[in-house]
Symmetry: C2
Subunit: 313 residues, 2 copies
């Protein structure tokens, strides 16, 4: 396929076109991925996640610059799963701001939630393959950190960095449990603020007593805007990379992740098929009419729709 | 059913037990809801959402106290969908902190994600019915604000408050689009911080040019810890309540929401059934073996699982 050849030769325009094809759910896009697939699997795919305002974009930019200085070929995927509509322009703004920060030679792609067939994680997976086909050896994926979509996106990544700030207060308690699910490295950003060192120590102590297999999640203090701590973060990322490649538990986690992701994508597609089928049945509208008249409760409605969907035996 | 009678007579212990039954997905729990259902639909169910650290808990507590002073009977549901395991203790900590704040007479219930059959939104819906059965006329649901689960939880609510702080920086751009999806009222909290008034004005301007049907989303400035702006928030909530009850567009939105929620719950349950069925087939393991050997790419794996799930015609 000509498009694939062009991507493999490093043509950015072709890469952008191919990612759009995958976003639109076009068969040609998936055929192209099948052809690209044998050339992938060697790049370091890094997820950067955290709540809004934690400083993810700044960290991603600083990482891109530092990896670039060390000779890495860097690609960035900025994922925004929070809004269904109209966010294109906002992402556009963010990208323009980034370009102004002189991330020269870095291929940046935004992925907004536009009701992709199969969801945003499916398209992001494809975009990561395309960036690797393009010759990138470090791929940074930035996404807002909570909810099912983000957990799926973390499954695409070899290493996941969770960015926190001292502002989160007692909700850090809740996040600590989540970190063990998806994070490999914790960054406490904005360490110039009061309480940052204490908050970092607190999380470190928690993680020490809740070890994740053989990998001890490190907690790094960073002041991203000043670039402080970014080199330590890169060192930690490289260490984690070595762990995932050389350690059997690290590599089995990666295999488990890709299985979970395939099931998640399948779930969305299968749901689309199911909904199409049951919506055509006369009973479907009737159930919701009864619900809206309050003659049945929502749980009863669920059971009635279930009966509609399951094949009669 | 005796349990239902006890709940209707205001017995909190029975209410707690019934919510646990719904969490566990037990049939008795849903039967009880069918019996409670005719007694519901009159409480004002208010969702409070926003990123970690935005101050949701403080706002919920202040609202509970103020509604209580005005004679309202208040219940609180604290939802934590971010972590799958081990978060029970953390929620416990939060609740203890709350109790210390003297929310006397307020029934508080935490809902943590423990792989409920049908997801956390399903259990939260049931908890809201139980609280109303218990005699609460204001039900406050607090949840972390992004991802599919939170959108579902917002569908349970009559009014949704989105809490922002000036710290979010350019990510507020992204949130603005999301607000139109789920928020009815925007609160800019921590207005003692620099940039707060400007950020509030900025969002107000955006929302004025992106009107949501006939309801103009107000932007309120609040300093929750000091209690500043809480009375204005209550006034705005009451105004929105009137809108949803009296305006046909307001009430049709509510009906649409409950339909979407039923479909979301059905989706999770149907998925559970589907997965059980296809996992038993010999081909299922074979597909993932091929995926892990990299002889097929993930998209090919999705198509193969799909063929396995769809009935052959």
């Amino acid at each position: 396929m000509e498009l694939v050849d062009k991507v493999l030769r490093g043509d950015e325009g072709s890469a952008a076109r191919l990612i759009s094809m995958i976003e639109e759910g076009r068969d040609e896009g998936y055929e192209a991925i099948s052809l690209l697939f044998p050339y992938t699997g060697k790049a370091h795919v890094i997820g950067v996640t955290g709540a809004p305002g934690a400083g993810k974009s700044t960290i991603v930019d600083k990482l891109a610059i530092s990896f670039g200085r060390q000779g890495g070929k860097v690609g960035i995927i900025a994922v925004d799963p929070t809004s269904a509509k109209g966010s294109g322009a906002f992402l556009g703004d963010r990208l323009r701001m980034r370009n102004a920060e002189k991330l020269e030679g870095v291929f940046i792609r935004s992925m907004a939630h536009r009701g992709f067939p199969g969801g945003i994680a499916k398209a992001t997976l494809g975009a990561a393959y395309v960036l690797e086909g393009l010759g990138k050896d470090v791929i940074l994926i930035e996404s807002v950190g909570s909810g099912q979509t983000e957990i799926q996106i973390s499954m695409i990544c070899d290493s996941v960095v969770t960015v926190l700030t001292p502002d989160y207060g007692d909700e850090i308690q809740l996040m600590k449990a989540g970190l063990l699910e998806i994070g490999d490295i914790v960054v406490m950003n904005k360490t110039d603020r009061p309480g940052a060192v204490e908050a970092a120590k607190d999380i470190e102590f928690y993680l020490m007593s809740h070890k994740k297999q053989h990998w001890q999640i490190p907690v790094l203090t960073v002041e991203a805007i000043q670039g402080k701590g970014v080199e330590d973060l890169i060192a930690a990322l490289k260490l984690h990379r070595t762990y995932t490649v050389e350690n059997s538990q690290g590599s089995s986690k990666k295999k488990e992740n890709i299985k979970r992701l395939v099931l998640a994508i399948f779930k969305e597609e299968f749901w689309g098929e199911t909904l199409k089928k049951i919506q055509d049945k006369a009973m479907f509208d009737d159930i919701f009419q009864q619900l809206q008249n309050s003659t049945i409760d929502p749980y009863k409605a669920v059971r009635m729709v279930m009966d509609l969907a399951l094949p009669t035996e």
